[in-house]
């Protein structure tokens, strides 16, 4: 294989509000049966990248549990494998990862010990499908030093949370601004890069010498005139999860037929950890409209325009509307939920009533399931 992979999965965002207390964004449950890192991992696997490092730092317990076996994504071969790198203390270094470039620097041995000529860097918090071989071919074609996957956002969409860039007619990146106050274009970076392995080692070592730790600011933006940095336009579905609103909308996108078919029925598949749950069960009184329901769930009430994740119990006479119910949630009888995200493993008492007004309500009721 021509490339190794690095997945940056250490990040967190305050805009995820209470959802960030439990896990890193990369471990956020998505679309009923997946975690957000599954998309990057499946892309790697489907692109025949056999050796992948996941760099984690923030609240990685849930993520590590998800990655406890690499066989679901078809890694764990004699050649290559899936490596999870958390910050470690050594005689020379006792720092956490101080940024994305530093995270790579602290694991530079992984790059140095490899022999593949290219590195694909992706982040673990995006929902998309991409054959990285296409990206690699484009990179070679353009004689590019660094290729950045970019997405043209719809006109008028607020892009100030992204890296915004401008390209010339050859797609060479001329301007690159991280989280601009006033965006000069509607083309954003998807946080997916390809770069020659030796060049990456060189740039990362140099940045470290200069006390610079961020891949975007200290490498992409700093070198944009000195190196040939090109944009690769992604035309298919892509979403980044950085806030509760992104998270809610991305999940709700899966209720649309085209998005659902693109991810669920078109080749190649997205893989995830298999949970061995029984089929979903609908008892008398279940009324389900325009919703996704995952395995292991038992439905006794009304569910509308919602996503029911795995192993959820919806009690009698419940109404769940425009909501996302994460894994292992128990909802007691006669409960009304609207515009809510219910945190995983939660237990909602019978006869509760929660409506998110103005914004999505994140519901965390830490009841002990067996005492009510």
């Amino acid at each position: 294989m021509r490339a190794i992979g690095i997945i940056l999965a250490g990040g967190h965002s305050n805009r995820m509000r209470e959802l960030a207390q439990k896990r890193a964004i990369s471990a956020m449950p998505i679309a009923g049966s997946y975690r957000s890192i599954d998309f990057a991992l499946s892309n790697m696997s489907n692109s025949h990248i056999q050796k992948v490092a996941v760099l984690t730092q923030y609240n990685a317990r849930s993520l590590n549990e998800h990655l406890s076996s690499s066989k679901w994504w078809d890694f764990g071969r004699k050649q290559g494998g899936l490596y999870v790198f958390t910050p470690i203390e050594t005689s020379e270094n006792s720092n956490w990862y101080r940024g994305t470039a530093d995270a790579i620097y602290q694991n530079l041995e992984f790059l140095k010990m490899s022999h593949e000529p290219y590195v694909v860097i992706a982040s673990g918090d995006c929902v998309y499908k991409l054959d990285y071989n296409k990206l690699l071919e484009y990179h070679i074609d353009k004689k590019s030093d660094i290729t950045v996957v970019v997405k043209e956002m719809p006109e008028g969409e607020n892009v100030d949370r992204y890296g915004v860039l401008k390209m010339n007619e050859e797609n060479r990146i001329e301007e690159f601004e991280e989280k601009p106050i006033v965006a000069k274009s509607n083309i954003v970076s998807c946080g997916i890069y390809v770069i020659r392995r030796r060049l990456l080692i060189e740039l990362i070592e140099k940045a470290n010498e200069e006390g610079r730790y961020d891949f975007v600011a200290d490498i992409l933006i700093r070198y944009k005139n000195m190196k040939r940095i090109f944009g690769f336009k992604l035309d298919s579905y892509w979403r980044n999860i950085a806030s509760v609103e992104d998270y809610y909308e991305t999940n709700m996108d899966f209720l649309k037929k085209d998005v659902r078919n693109y991810f669920f029925r078109e080749y190649p598949d997205v893989y995830s950890k298999v949970d061995d749950l029984p089929p979903a069960k609908y008892n008398v009184g279940a009324k389900v409209k325009n919703s996704l329901v995952s395995s292991g769930s038992i439905i006794n009430g009304t569910v509308e325009n919602s996503l029911i994740f795995k192993n959820v119990f919806v009690g009698n006479n419940c109404v769940v509307k425009n909501s996302i119910i994460l894994n292992d949630v128990y909802i007691g009888d006669n409960t009304y939920l609207e515009n809510c995200i219910v945190e995983s493993r939660d237990t909602i008492r019978a006869n509760s009533n929660y409506v998110g007004e103005g914004e999505i309500k994140i519901l965390i009721e830490q009841n002990d399931r067996y005492s009510i």
């Binding site: 298999v274 089929p279 979903a280 919703s291």
Partner: protein
Amino acid sequence: MIKKEMIAMLLAGGQGSRLGVLTAKVAKPAVSFGGKYRIIDFPLSNCINSGVDTVGVLTQYQPLRLNTHIGIGIPWDLDRNIGGVTVLPPYEKSTDTEWYTGTANAIYQNLDYMESYNPDYVLILSGDHIYKMDYEVMLDFHKKNGAEVTIAAMPVPLEEAKRFGIVITDENRKITDFEEKPANPRSNLASMGIYIFNWKTLKEALLAKSEEPNLDFGKHIIPYCHKKGAPLYAYEYNGYWKDVGTLHSYWEANMELIDIVPVFNLYEEYWKIYTKSDTLPPQYIADNTVIEKCLIGEGTVIYGEVYNSIIGCGVTIEEGTVVRDSIIMNDTCIGKNCEINKAIIAENVEIGNGVKLGVGEEVDNETDPHIYNHGLVTVGEKTVIPDGVCVGKNSVIAGNIKSEDLENMSLASGKTLIKAGDEV
């Protein structure tokens, strides 16, 4: 030296001919059950949940689906450095090459496999029953009684006992006699076809009786051990156990899973049933659907109405279609405005628009009334049914059906239409 206390030998070579067209292309243990499972998942999951991590699976009839399902045993955690799952088909020998001619003959032909694990006990299982059993508890019973052979047996109503092999025991559950399908049963303990043998006893018996044609456990090996005076015990089992040998019992066992609190509960945390899952995505339920009393597998998309049914993974049911009391297996597509009543529809079937299954009066099946009965419609795998076809009760339909194969676009009750060939 390798040492396993107990290994399991799982007999999965049978056709299960009373499942009719469902087992035309697959062995009975590989037939779907309960939406996402296959019948063999139950004994395999029981093995791993009981701590038995070495399982030989004996295959013979149509093993392809079974082999791909089992693979190296990953879904059941049976991919082990030592032991794990091994598929054991019949093989050519320098002398007398033969098929597996009977249950015990199949085990006899794999003496070397068992020998290589140096076991103390061998558990004999069959791959066509739905149940949850802790074989470790059965082994404890076996050891406690100093038995050489223990037979799992369950109480059945006396009037049904005449369909089974019956064991007669003393008050300590020591077996005193056997009866095979007796007219006037003396006991109601029916053998479940699950045995624990001391390895030495089993080996000795297999070698002694190896010349017997169609060597069978129930007919030859157990009586041989009994006659020899070996202590035989019956382990009484009182849980759920279902032989899904006929289409009707298969349909019934599936339907029992839909009860509010089913006798056989798949949702128990500590005795999970494992299976190979090819499909991961959640199921999508559209607007204007009605779903009542159903089990539905992953990746299924429903636009129509479904009542009292078991739906597998990756199924599509289009709008206007009403499905009742049916079993629909993986990756089947049902078109618009269909009416499906009490049907068993196998995998990868394509049903056009406006098709009606299970309508009209009940008439006995013309070719195989002992297989196709109780008003069921059975559709074989990869069948294609064109738009507007009407199919009666107690009927069976399989193959790439074209309108010219049918009279007035309908197949009357009791008719059999099985088209050979795989042309598409």
